[in-house]
Symmetry: C2
Subunit: 345 residues, 2 copies
């Protein structure tokens, strides 16, 4: 017996349009026959798109909504008028437990604001964070926050460490994931005061044995820690810079192979391995970041996601639903709360 999982899909608000979203769902369905979808958005557009994918016919429901949260809508204005938007309705379904998870490629700020408003944060968490896994030399590490909180205080950083640790336990399968705070140096007096304070707290907390201190941008890709804690501004820029540099490397490699005849012959010899490397570096295969710290599973896809990329985001939502990540985080936080050894003003 397989457990059915129902995913709410916000079809509107992505850069590439509803078609690539539906196409992504069809791709994901091929990999996960146990999944059902509730699509939120333009009723006719969605039904037309679904009709092109026979695989979606018996596992899809469409909830027509009149409005769309646009990429340039301010979160504050979306909070006032989320009614009958694809994002707002989908979140209501998640809130009312009519679906197991939600995936959206829409406006990140609006999605986070609405998610906080409708789902509320887990008990003990003052601000949710956006988390994802990033490859390093010998595996993957978890990084958070990636953009939910432009400015953070000491308490936020400590909570990110707690959430990141619980997340990494499940996702990376590590019993005691190593945690580091991203800074401009490893010495205690380096960087911002708020980071120094958070670091001091973590050293004295129940996480002390997992806490490795400050980490830098050039060591996180060696796998020096399993969880990298940072504010949403720095995390967003570090992640995007990493993507940019990875693309630049691919560009250089391509140029090298196509530069002369020997290169072209070498390319033919190594084509298969190169394909595997390309897949490894392709951000589309890792699309999807989890909003951690909420009463519900919300996965944010890249706004510019194509079908392959959006399918990856749905995959993550499906996986998280089955793993019961949310419940495990709540349990972890309850354990923390009862241990009472973190005392933040």
């Amino acid at each position: 017996m397989s457990i059915r999982v129902t995913i709410a899909v916000d079809v509107m608000g992505s850069d590439k349009g509803p078609k690539s979203i539906i196409s992504g769902a069809a791709l994901s369905k091929e990999r996960h026959p146990e999944s059902d979808y509730i699509f939120f958005g333009d009723y006719n557009l969605i039904n037309k798109a679904i009709s092109e994918y026979s695989i979606l016919k018996n596992c899809s429901e469409v909830i027509g909504t009149e409005f769309v949260v646009n990429p340039d809508d301010k979160p504050s204005s979306v909070l006032r008028k989320s009614k009958n938007t694809s994002m707002g309705e989908a979140l209501d379904w998640l809130k009312n437990k009519k679906v197991d998870a939600l995936v959206s490629a829409g406006n990140t700020g609006a999605l986070m604001a609405l998610s906080k408003f409708k789902l509320r944060t887990l008990s003990g968490i003052s601000r949710p964070a956006i988390a994802t896994t990033i490859p390093h030399a010998n595996g993957e590490f978890v990084m958070l926050d990636l953009g939910a909180n432009v400015e953070c205080n000491t308490e936020n950083f400590i909570q990110f460490a707690i959430m990141g640790s619980e997340f990494a336990k499940i996702i990376l399968g590590k019993e005691k994931p190593k945690i580091g705070i991203l800074n401009v140096g490893t010495e205690q007096e380096k960087g911002k005061l708020v980071l120094q304070e958070a670091s001091e707290h973590l050293k004295k907390s129940y996480l002390s044995k997992q806490y490795s201190g400050f980490v830098e941008g050039d060591t996180i890709t060696n796998g020096v820690v399993d969880v990298v804690v940072t504010d949403g501004f720095t995390g967003n820029i570090a992640l995007k810079t990493a993507e940019g540099i990875a693309k630049l490397c691919s560009f250089y490699i391509k140029k090298m192979f196509l530069g002369n005849l020997l290169g072209k012959i070498a390319y033919l010899l190594i084509k298969k391995s190169l394909g595997l490397l390309k897949a490894k570096l392709d951000p589309r295969t890792r699309n999807g970041a989890l909003f951690l710290g909420l009463n519900g599973i919300v996965v944010k896809s890249h706004g510019g996601a194509d079908a392959l990329s959006f399918a990856s985001a749905i995959d993550i939502a499906l996986e998280f639903s089955k793993e019961g990540v949310g419940k495990k985080i709540i349990k972890g936080l309850d354990n923390l709360k009862s241990s009472g050894d973190i005392n933040i003003d």
Copy 2:
């Protein structure tokens, strides 16, 4: 007739020790016969190291100093006791115009604090910034600040834009270099308030035609602008993350070539191009960041610089001395001042 250039070299305080610094100077001397060196640090150690390089014998002077600024010394404590340190004495020589430029692989915070104290900032500049060039798909861009200022205000960002523009004019040879502010989105309401304010000011300033608005981490590597303005915390982490990802890509490529027999054959075919690519990605060939905005040329080398890497830093100091970068920046700032169209509170 070639113009002689004298470089002050702080031999102490690097991670790899004095030998690699002297060895780097010897490498640089091979490329730049017109250079002379004044080495500051342990008299006997330096003389012993120099004796191993005949090329350095007739172009070197050693100034023995008793103390060393250590990597973990706080800038504030170094300010109180810089006398008779290799860094402090070398800066005094630069201040007194007895040398044309200074190169140090020592403690960045201390070097910046001492440089500010001894050299003073250029007229109109409230805070110097650390700037370097970074490769993109079709050339290079300038990025600043890379670590001098953990927190920045609106005025600082505008001054970084001005300094970065003057720097790029010379280094990249562009008449009107395009300027962008690094942020988490391109829309005006995205990110930190201080960045939004700086952006609004630049749009109204004499730089308006060069100013392209906000740029993101994944587009700067496409060469979307010539100058990327950011605070020292974000810039440092973005640069180091870029280095980490570049190393990771190299690691993956190596693994691909050594993975099987076909890969090894392909490697032999493409060895030469791969060597060129490696050199292009090798951060050691681009070592050296300029402290912009001071009355003197100070180049900061990576603390962990080996000989090749330190030689690159000396090369930059030599190039900047010849180009008269400092004077051109002063002139640029004077032009700005007299145009009077930037009015920051």
